[in-house]
C-alpha cells in the first residue's frame, strides 16, 4: 500500500503544492490537510510546509500552532508519527513546543534566497535515514526570520543528544556555503529526542527535479527516508 503523507495548508501557506509534488515524486500519496479540520485522514506522516501562515503576524508560526489541525498533530507527534516542518513549518513546530528554540530575524535584516550548502549531521531521524552522517547537500534557502536561537543549555543538550540534524556547511559564501543568517552554532535543522519530529529552515521540496530551481535533487531523500521508515514499521 502506498504511504499517505499529509501536507497542511494554513492561511498564508505557500509551499503546500510544491510539497505535495515532492511527496508524489518520492513515491507516496500526498494528502491535503486543512488547518480548520481536526481529522488527519489516516495519514502516516505529516509535513508542515513553508510560507507566511497568518502573514507571520505576531510572530512567525505563533497563530498557526493554535489551529485545530495542530492540536491533532501535536498529539500524534508525541505518539511517534513522523512530522517534518520546513521553514514556516519549523517555526510552527517551535511555537508548538514540539522542538526547542526559536527563529529570529536574519542578522543581515534581509530576506535571503539562495542555494544553500548543508551538512547532514545525523541519519538517525525519520526524515534523514537515506543520508549518511557528514554528507553535504545543497537545497534552496529563502526566509527573513531564519536565525535559529536557543539558550546555551538547550544548545548543549541538542548537540549532546545528536539532535542537531543539519548545519550550514563552512566554505566560500559565493558558492552557497556559510551561515546565512547568524543561526547559533550554524544550526539549520533539529529534531526532537525521539527523532520523529524534524524542523529545518531550508527547503527540500524545492530540490526534487533536475530541471527545476537549482537543478539538484538533494531534497528527495527527505521524503524517501520517511517512506522507508513507514514501510519497515
Amino acid at each position: 500500500m502506498t504511504a499517505r503523507i499529509g501536507v497542511v495548508t494554513f492561511p498564508g501557506t505557500l509551499d503546500d503544492r510544491d510539497t505535495q509534488r515532492a511527496v508524489r515524486l518520492a513515491g507516496a500519496e500526498p494528502v491535503a490537510l486543512w488547518h480548520r479540520d481536526k481529522d488527519l485522514r489516516q495519514v502516516d506522516a505529516v509535513v508542515l510546509p513553508g510560507g507566511f501562515s497568518y502573514g507571520d503576524y505576531l510572530r512567525a508560526g505563533a497563530i498557526s500552532r493554535f489551529s485545530p489541525m495542530m492540536e491533532t498533530i501535536i498529539e500524534q507527534a508525541k505518539g511517534g508519527m513522523p512530522v517534518l516542518g520546513i521553514c514556516n513549518g519549523f517555526q510552527v513546530l517551535t511555537e508548538a513546543h514540539l522542538l526547542p528554540g526559536a527563529m529570529l530575524r536574519n542578522t543581515g535584516l534581509h530576506f535571503v534566497c539562495r542555494d544553500q550548502r548543508l551538512r547532514v549531521e545525523t541519519s538517525g531521524t525519520a526524515w534523514t535515514g537515506d543520508f549518511t552522517a557528514g554528507q553535504e547537500i545543497s537545497i534552496p534557502l529563502k526566509n527573513i526570520d531564519g536565525r535559529y536561537t536557543a539558550d546555551p543549555r538547550t544548545l548543549d543538550e541538542l548537540e549532546a543528544e545528536g539532535r542537531v540534524v543539519f548545519r550550514y556547511a563552512a566554505g566560500p559564501v559565493a558558492d552557497g556555503y556559510g551561515n546565512p543568517n547568524g543561526s547559533l552554532r550554524d544550526i539549520a535543522g533539529i529534531s526532537n529526542a525521539a527523532g520523529n519530529v524534524v524542523g529545518l529552515m531550508p527547503h527540500p521540496e524545492h530540490a526534487v527535479e533536475s530541471l527545476i530551481g537549482t537543478g539538484r535533487r538533494d531534497g528527495l531523500a527527505f521524503f524517501t527516508s520517511v517512506l522507508k521508515g513507514l514501510v519497515s514499521v
Partner: protein, 749 residues
C-alpha cells in the same frame, strides 16, 4: 457636511464644487455638467475626477495608443486583446497565458516600501481577475545615480517592498532589470509584471450582465488610504514645495492578498463568477463603472453596505479609496450562498452591495438616498481625449550630432583591460544578486530559469513540459537619442532574450514611462516611441496585448529619459530544451551571431568611461532579429547549442563575462578579421548573441546559419579560468568576479 444627493444637486445648480482640487480641468467639469444635465453630486464629482484622470482615462496617450490596435499583426494566438484587465495568449495544449506590466512609479518615490509592494499587489489582481492563477512576477526598476543618497533611501525600500509583498504571495520573482541613471533622480520607475496561467475555458471578463445578478465586494475592508492616488498622485508633476502626498499612497497586506488569490481561484473552479474586476486605481468608482459600462449598463449599489476600516469615511472617500486587496464579482442569485461560503472558508469578508439592473444607469445610494445617477460609459470609457501638441525638440539634432564614435578610445592593451573591468563593475553592468537574492525565485516549484538568465522561464505543465518565457527590457539612453528606434530596440532586446532561452516570442505588453504630456517635446518622444513600438510589433508579428502608460515622470522642467519598457512573452514546447546562459563545458566553441559595427551611441562604454550621451543608437533591423530568433530556437530544439546569451548594453565583453562567471569557466577569444579589439568588445550593435556550440555540433550549426544567411563567427573556445583576448589581455575570472559582484553591495549594503 450634509449629504449631497442627486435631488439636492438638481435644486442647487450654483453650488461651488472643488473640481480643481480633485485634479479636473474647467472644460472637463463643464462637460460633466453637460452629460448629467445638472451639476454633479459630490460623489459623482469624485468618480469622474478619478476616472477621468490621466492614469485611468489615458486622455493624453490614447490617440497614440490606437496604433497598437490598428497596426496589430495578424495572429491566432491572441484570445483577449487590449482593453481587459490583461491580454490573454494561446500557448497551446489548451492553456492560455495572461501577462501584463504596469507602473507604480509615483507612490514608490513617496513611500518606497508600500509603493512597490502595492504595485506588485495591483498587477497580481489584474491577472487573477482574468481567471488565471498567477505564476510569476518580474520587476523592471530604474533609480537615480547609484551613489546618490536618495537612491539609498528609495532602492532598499522598493526592493524590500517587492520582496515583502511578492514573497508572501508565493509567486516566484523570475527577472526584471535594475538601471541607474541621474535622469531618474526624484522619479524612480517601479514597473511590475505578472504572468498567469489558465485553461481556455477559464477566461473571465470584467463585465456585468444579467439583470438581477448580485454585485459582491470581497476582500479587505475599505479604508482611507490611497484616496485620489490616480488623480492627484499619478497624474501630476511633483512640486517640491507642495503638501505631503503620503496619504495618497496605498498600504498593502500581502497575507490578505494571498487569501484573496486562493479564494478567487476556488470561486472560479466552482464556476460561481459571471464577471469580475479587481479594485486598483480609482477603487470602487472604477470597478462599478467599468463592470457596468462593459455590460448592459445598469447597476444599483448600496454604498453604505461597504465594510469599512474607518466608520467616519464619507461616500466620496469610499468611492475614491484605493485600499488594496479587494475584488468585485458579479454573481447569479442562486450562487451567492456558495460564493459566501467559500469566502468564509478563506476568512475573506464578502458583502452583497447591489445588483445588475436592466436599466442603463449606474445608480448609487447612501442609506436610501440617491447620490449617483450616471451613464457608466461616460465615466469609464468616454472620458476626455486630448490631442496634445507635440514637436521634435530643438536640442535633438545637437544631441544626435554629438557622435559617441568620436570619443577617445583606449590606446593600449592595458587601457582596454582597465576599461573592461570598469565596465563590468559599473553599477548598471554589475551583478544584481544583492537585490534579486531578496526575492523568492523557487516557490511553486516550476522555475526553470530566473535572473540573471536572459528570460525567466516557467513550466506550466508537468506532464508535457510546456513552458513560458518572459523578458522585460528598456533602454532610456537609446530612446533619448531616438525615441522611435529606442522603443524598437527595447522590443528587439526582449524578443531576443526570449528566443535566447529557446522560446518562441508570441506577444507583447508595454509600460510607457515618460515625462509630462503638457511638454510638446515629451509628447513628441511619446508619439515617436509608440509609433516605433507599433511598427516593430507588426514587423515581428507580436501583438501588444495591453500595458500601461505612466506620464508626469518629471521634476520641474526636467523629464526622465523617455523609457518604454517592453515585455515579451514566449512559449517553449518542452522546458527540457531550454538554453541557459552559462558557459560550463570546457572545449565548447564560442560563436558570435550577427554583425558587429562601430556603434557606440548611448552605449554603456560611453556612459561608464566618458559619462557621455550622444549620437545615434544602434541601427534596428527587425528582419535580422527574426532570423536570429529562428536560429536560436531551432538550435535549442535540435540540441545544437548548450548556452546562449544576448548581446545588449555593454556589448560582447559584458555578455561573455556573464556567461563565464555563471558557468565558472573562462574563455579564450580571438578578435575576428575586419574588427579591432575595441569595437569587438564594446560595440552595442543589435541583433546579436553569443552561443556555446559543442564541437560535435559545429558543422550542423554553421551549416544552418549559412543556409539561412545569418553571419556566425567563431570567436573562441571555453577554457581555463580567465577571459583572454588573444594579443590584448587576460583577465582572471576571480578579478572579474570581484569587480562584477562587489559594486552593488558596496553601494547599498
Amino acid at each position: 457636511m450634509s449629504l449631497d444627493t442627486v435631488k439636492q444637486a438638481e435644486q442647487t445648480p450654483e453650488t461651488g464644487q472643488p473640481w480643481k482640487e480633485l485634479g479636473l480641468k474647467e472644460d472637463e467639469y463643464q462637460r460633466i455638467r453637460e452629460i448629467l444635465g445638472r451639476r454633479p453630486t459630490g460623489a459623482e464629482l469624485a468618480m469622474y475626477s478619478v476616472m477621468w484622470s490621466e492614469h485611468c482615462s489615458y486622455k493624453s496617450s490614447k490617440v497614440h495608443l490606437k496604433q497598437f490596435g490598428e497596426k496589430a499583426p495578424r495572429t491566432d494566438a491572441l484570445l483577449v486583446g487590449i482593453g481587459e484587465n490583461a491580454g490573454v495568449v494561446d500557448v497551446g495544449q489548451g492553456y492560455a497565458v495572461t501577462f501584463k506590466i504596469e507602473s507604480h512609479n509615483h507612490p514608490s518615490y513617496i513611500e518606497p516600501y508600500q509603493g512597490a509592494a502595492t504595485g506588485v499587489g495591483g498587477i497580481v489582481r489584474d491577472i487573477l481577475a482574468m481567471g488565471a492563477r498567477p505564476v510569476a512576477v518580474m520587476d523592471p526598476l530604474r533609480f537615480g545615480a547609484a551613489g546618490h543618497p536618495d537612491t539609498k533611501r528609495v532602492l532598499p525600500g522598493v526592493v524590500a517592498g517587492i520582496g515583502g509583498y511578492g514573497n508572501c504571495l508565493g509567486l516566484p520573482n523570475i527577472g526584471g532589470e535594475v538601471v541607474f541613471d541621474p535622469c531618474y533622480q526624484g522619479n524612480p520607475l517601479v514597473n511590475a509584471l505578472c504572468v498567469g496561467v489558465m485553461k481556455h475555458e477559464d477566461i473571465h471578463l470584467a463585465k456585468a450582465s444579467g439583470s438581477g445578478n448580485r454585485v459582491i465586494l470581497y476582500g479587505a475592508r475599505t479604508g482611507g488610504d490611497g484616496i485620489g492616488g490616480v488623480s492627484v498622485l499619478a497624474s501630476e508633476t511633483f512640486d517640491a514645495t507642495g503638501p505631503s502626498r503620503r496619504p495618497a499612497v496605498q498600504v498593502g497586506d500581502p497575507f490578505q492578498e494571498k487569501l484573496l488569490i486562493e479564494c478567487t481561484l476556488e470561486l472560479f473552479r466552482e464556476k460561481l463568477v459571471t464577471g469580475i474586476q479587481d479594485l486598483g486605481g480609482a477603487g470602487l468608482s472604477c470597478a462599478t463603472s467599468e463592470l457596468a459600462s462593459a455590460g448592459s449598463g445598469g447597476m444599483r449599489i448600496e454604498l453604505d453596505r461597504v465594510p469599512l476600516r474607518d466608520a467616519t469615511l464619507s461616500p466620496e472617500e469610499i468611492l475614491m479609496s484605493e485600499s488594496q486587496e479587494r475584488m468585485c464579482a458579479i454573481v447569479e442569485p442562486d450562487k451567492v450562498d456558495r460564493f459566501l461560503e467559500i469566502c468564509e472558508k478563506w476568512d475573506v469578508i464578502a458583502t452583497d452591495i447591489g445588483e445588475v439592473t436592466d436599466g442603463v444607469r449606474l445608480e448609487i445610494t447612501w442609506h436610501g438616498e440617491q447620490i449617483v445617477d450616471v451613464p457608466p460609459r461616460s465615466v469609464a470609457h468616454e472620458g476626455p481625449t486630448y490631442h496634445r501638441p507635440f514637436a521634435r525638440p530643438d536640442w535633438q539634432d545637437t544631441l544626435q550630432a554629438d557622435d559617441a564614435g568620436a570619443l577617445p578610445r583606449p590606446v593600449s592593451a592595458d587601457e582596454l583591460r582597465e576599461q573592461v573591468l570598469a565596465l563590468v563593475g559599473s553599477p548598471n553592468q554589475a551583478s544584481k544578486e544583492w537585490i534579486t537574492d531578496q526575492y523568492d525565485r523557487f516557490v511553486q516549484g516550476n522555475t526553470v530559469l530566473a535572473q540573471p538568465e536572459d528570460s525567466g522561464l516557467i513550466r506550466i505543465d508537468e506532464e508535457t513540459g510546456l513552458g513560458v518565457a518572459v523578458a522585460t527590457d528598456g533602454n532610456g539612453r537609446y530612446a533619448k537619442l531616438d525615441p522611435y528606434a529606442g522603443a524598437q530596440l527595447a522590443l528587439a532586446e526582449a524578443y531576443r532574450n526570449v528566443a535566447a532561452t529557446g522560446a518562441r516570442p508570441l506577444a507583447v505588453s508595454d509600460c510607457l514611462n515618460f515625462g509630462s504630456p503638457e511638454d510638446p517635446a515629451v509628447m513628441w518622444q511619446f508619439a515617436e516611441a509608440t509609433r516605433g513600438l507599433a511598427d516593430g510589433c507588426l514587423a515581428l508579428g507580436t501583438p501588444v496585448t495591453g500595458g500601461n502608460v505612466s506620464l508626469y515622470n518629471q521634476t520641474g522642467e526636467t523629464a526622465i529619459h523617455p523609457t518604454p519598457v517592453v515585455a515579451v512573452l514566449g512559449v517553449i514546447d518542452d522546458v527540457a530544451r531550454r538554453t541557459p546562459m552559462a558557459f560550463k563545458d570546457p572545449g565548447q566553441l564560442v560563436y558570435l551571431l550577427g554583425d558587429t559595427r562601430e556603434e557606440f551611441g548611448g552605449s554603456a562604454w560611453s556612459q561608464v568611461v566618458h559619462d557621455h550621451l550622444g549620437g545615434l543608437p544602434p541601427a534596428v533591423d527587425l528582419e535580422r532579429e527574426k532570423l536570429l530568433a529562428e536560429i536560436l530556437i531551432s538550435a535549442s530544439r535540435d540540441g545544437m547549442i548548450d548556452a546562449a546569451h544576448d548581446l545588449s548594453d555593454g556589448g560582447l565583453v559584458q555578455a561573455v563575462t556573464e556567461s563565464c562567471l555563471r558557468g565558472g569557466l573562462g574563455a579564450r577569444l580571438v578578435v575576428p578579421d575586419g574588427l579591432d579589439a575595441f569595437t569587438f568588445l564594446f560595440s552595442e550593435s543589435a541583433g546579436r548573441a553569443v552561443v556555446a556550440v559543442p564541437r560535435s555540433e559545429e558543422m550542423r550549426f554553421t551549416d544552418m546559419c549559412g543556409a539561412r544567411g545569418l553571419p556566425a563567427t567563431r570567436i573562441g573556445v571555453i577554457d581555463g579560468d580567465a577571459i583572454e583576448v588573444q594579443g590584448e589581455f587576460s583577465l582572471p575570472l576571480a578579478e572579474l568576479r570581484a569587480a562584477h559582484e562587489a559594486t552593488i553591495p558596496a553601494l547599498l549594503a
